[in-house]
Every structure is written in structure tokens, then in C-alpha cells.
Symmetry: C2
DNA sequence: TTTTGACTTGTCAAATATTGTCCAATGTAA
DNA sequence: TTACATTGGACAATATTTGACAAGTCAAAA
């Protein structure tokens, strides 16, 4: 599930308009529309605000947001899987 | 292993000077020095060229390069591991 | 100890990428 | 039609990245 899709789901399930979310995020509706369709990426700070407004767990949305970015980085690269695994290993090693 | 470190290893093992690599990459030595210390990021195209010059497998260097970027994305994020795993899943699912 | 050559540091400008605004278009329901 | 929600596209404002340049450190040779 992409962040964009989850945002749309949450917004619609709560009967909110793009216009209302946009206002709270202090961007205009076209911009929000683009974020909701994944055409533009939300900023970290906006993800947090969206989580608040839509009563969703911040960690959940942040994970989706990070995942989108990770996929962007490796998008179309032959070595995608390998790089992801190496990154994982690195994180695990340095977590201690 | 960071791309930067691997580049330095390869370069030194072959007795090449930064000046020589810089010339081939068409950047100046300070720039190359920064890349080699990981202070600046190489561009994809530069990674390929470096692989050629230093007789290293392109896939190997590209993997290191991608990994560096992945780590940058999740750096300092609580949800790093989870996001990496979700990205992995997504890639596996869409590979078929 | 001066000089030379390899490498590094810091600052700034150019190039690129991202984020946002605006206006116009499309869709949809009353 | 009219009104309102959403989308598309062009452009402006910002932010980030990339690179050039000048000056610095360091080590070894002279």
C-alpha cells in the first residue's frame, strides 16, 4: 500500500474534503490532490500532520512514506533487492 | 562497506592517484577527494565510470552506491527496518 | 629547511530538483 | 445551467546538489 492510497482511504472514510486537509496543511488543493495521487511526495512534517488529522498512527504513515522513498531510490535498478538486503544488514548491525 | 571506502581501496591497490581518476571523471581533485571520503555522493554515471577505470564489477559498485542511498533515506528513522522490509516485499511481489 | 606533490577544507556559484501557486479544465450532483 | 470538488499543466520560489576555486595540511624529497 502506497502512502498516497492510504491517505485517500482515510480521508474518504471520514468524509473529509481535500480542501479541508489542504487548509490544515497550509497548501492549496491542487498540491494536496497531487500528494494524494502520489504525483508529488509529502514532506515528513506533512505526513505527521496528516496522521494527526486523520487519526492514524504516525509510525504507520511514516513507514509507508519511507517505503515509497526506498522504492524510488532502487526503482528500475537491477541490484534493488541486493541493496535493500545490504541496507537491512547494516541497520541491524549498527542498532546495538 | 561504503562505496567511498571501496573506491579508495581499489584506487590505492592499483597505485593510482586521485588526480588521475579525477581527470578521467572530468571533475577536479577536491571533488574526487570528497567522493572518496563519502562527503559527497557520486552520480550513477560516475560510479559506472569508476568501475571501468578500476576494473571492478559494475554491479558491485552500483549495489554499494544504492545501499548508501537507502541508508541515507532511513537514517535516524525509527521505522527504518520495517520500511526496508516492506520495500523488499514490494520488489519481490512485482518482480514476477 | 625549503620545496614539491598529494590530498583536504571551506566557500561560493551554477545547475538541478523539489515544492508550491495560479489558472484553467474536468467531473459531478443539484 | 450553477456550484463545488478534484485534477492538469505552466510557471515561480526554494532547497539541494554538484562543481570550481583558493587556500590549507601533511609527508617526503631535496
Amino acid at each position: 500500500m502506497k502512502l498516497a492510497n492510504r491517505i485517500k482511504e482515510l480521508r474518504e472514510s471520514q468524509g473529509l474534503l481535500q480542501r479541508q486537509l489542504s487548509a490544515q496543511l497550509e497548501i492549496d488543493t491542487p498540491m494536496f490532490s497531487k500528494i494524494e495521487r502520489g504525483e508529488r511526495r509529502a514532506k515528513r512534517e506533512q505526513v505527521l500532520k496528516i496522521a494527526e488529522i486523520l487519526n492514524e498512527n504516525k509510525d504507520v504513515l511514516l513507514s509507508l512514506w519511507l517505503t515509497d522513498q526506498l522504492l524510488d531510490v532502487v526503482n528500475g535498478e537491477e541490484q534493488a533487492l541486493q541493496a535493500l538486503k545490504m541496507a537491512e544488514k547494516d541497520i541491524k548491525a549498527n542498532k546495538k
